[in-house]
């Protein structure tokens, strides 16, 4: 789960979390007593997806500096990211 969640968890932390997990999962498992078989369809709520026309509502560049400034590492108008492709030798 830690791997799927992209969180590095130390062995001692994992052990503590596992115990807490068992308790919480034990509690929420009562959901199976509440609903035996899943219904085929779900109801559409009274309100869903209130849409507006797809128009640009900001001025070009209005937020560019503020958003780029928030990035831990930037290069000009780009956010810096480590390379994700490596050669086969590596």
């Amino acid at each position: 789960m830690a791997k799927l969640s992209r969180i590095r968890v130390s062995p001692s932390e994992a052990e503590a979390l596992t115990g807490e997990f068992d308790e919480i999962l034990g509690y929420v498992a009562q959901i199976n007593d509440a609903v035996d078989i899943l219904p085929d369809t779900r109801k559409v709520p009274a309100h869903a997806n209130v849409l507006r026309s797809d128009m640009v509502t900001t001025m070009t560049g209005e937020y560019t500096e503020a958003l780029l400034d928030a990035a831990p590492e930037r290069h000009k108008n780009y956010v810096l990211v480590k390379k994700i492709l490596s050669t086969i030798d590596e």
């Binding site: 969640s5 959901i31 509440a34 779900r42 309100h47 480590k82």
Partner: protein, 473 residues
Amino acid sequence: MQKDIQTIASLRKAFIQGTDTPSAVLLRCKEEIVNRDGEIHAYLDVYEDALESAKVADALYKEKGADTPLLLGIPVAIKNNILIKGKKATAGSKILENYIAPYDATVINRLRDAGAIFVGATNLDEFAMGSSTENSAFGPTKNPHDLSRVPGGSSGGSAAAVAMGSATVALGTDTGGSVRLPASYCGLVGFKPTYGAISRHGLVAMGSSLDQAGTFSNCVSDAEMLFGILQGQDGFDMTAYTKDTYPDIPKKEKYRIGVPYSFLGEGIEPDVRKLFDEAVLKFKELGHEIVDVSLPRMASGLAAYYIVMPAEVSSNLARYDGVRFGLHVGGDTLLDDYELTRAAGFGREVKRRILLGTYVLSAGYYDSYYGKAEAVRDLMRDELYSAFADIDCVLTPTAPAPAFKIGEKSDPLSMYLTDVFTVPANLTGMPALSLPAGVVTREGIDLPIGIQCMTPHNGEARLFDIGKKFLGE
């Protein structure tokens, strides 16, 4: 605590008559913070530029009197998971410790337009995950009524800020009770609107199908006024509904109030139950009718909530990757960056919920957890609507007990159980109001207790009416 800043109406009257000024009030709020917040720790940040805004408000009142915006000069505290342009929006987390909001949340925009003064940013459980404000990465907030106890959570800082008299009203967010529970623990009115009534634009997301902004105040009238200002679509939240979405829920002279007695069975402390029974009696004496209503589905609410919420948390918090904003901890590869950043930036409860959410959404478990929890939400909504055919609102305690001691609930499940009465409103999207209903005594100290009223969707007008009748406003 300052008695004279307690309601918007009283302050506004004083401002218009010229017997008090926004800057004088703000200075008294700041004095309160200087004197008491070292101990209470309601605030993460106190805004220096508030005085400038207050002085502008002083001048406007002098010039225009009553012909000014409704909240002009009113001191408001803001939970620090709500974005204010140019200010830190930490969400109580190390991962956003230095994050500066690039824009205003819609609720902030609307308060600004109404003339509100932002006193400061209040403490919260990290990413609003908790029922005590102990999970803040910046240390816990204490209950102004008893410093050895929690103020409730997750909006504990906002509740404490109003309860200590450093702000007239405050904004919080409520995903499973995070406004109503601290309001109950701190003796305030806590309001969670219908899901979609107020735009969530600019709120740090936790559980997107559950989150709503809510208010803390000393009276129901203030909650009503704030709601009038905050509600309505803005084009940035596609779940913010129009006034045609739901039928009108009318006010009435006398109400038929449903109490789900079988749901109040175990777990409620005896004196809390006694206070609740007295509140029921008060409603009867006011001429309202009390009926026992059967809501067996409510008992599954907490289990459904602790499946749906972590599932949405795991998805919403995937954005904190150390690349675009927030904390960055570098490793050898991009994957290392992600894992190390998130390990260093998130606290224990946040990690727990992300992992739990990842688990309940994973292949093979989806149907037995998330699918069923969503089905339970539908069943709960149906059950409540059937009940509302016969009754006007549902009344319960807000919480089974008064504020607990700091450190008392170290095991996560026992903390989760405090939300048993508040989560149904979030799961079903219905509005709910916590009202102060008296005090119980623990170790010689009086601790506030709240009762909670819930109506069908779009039932705010009725909710406020019931609240005002109960509190005699």
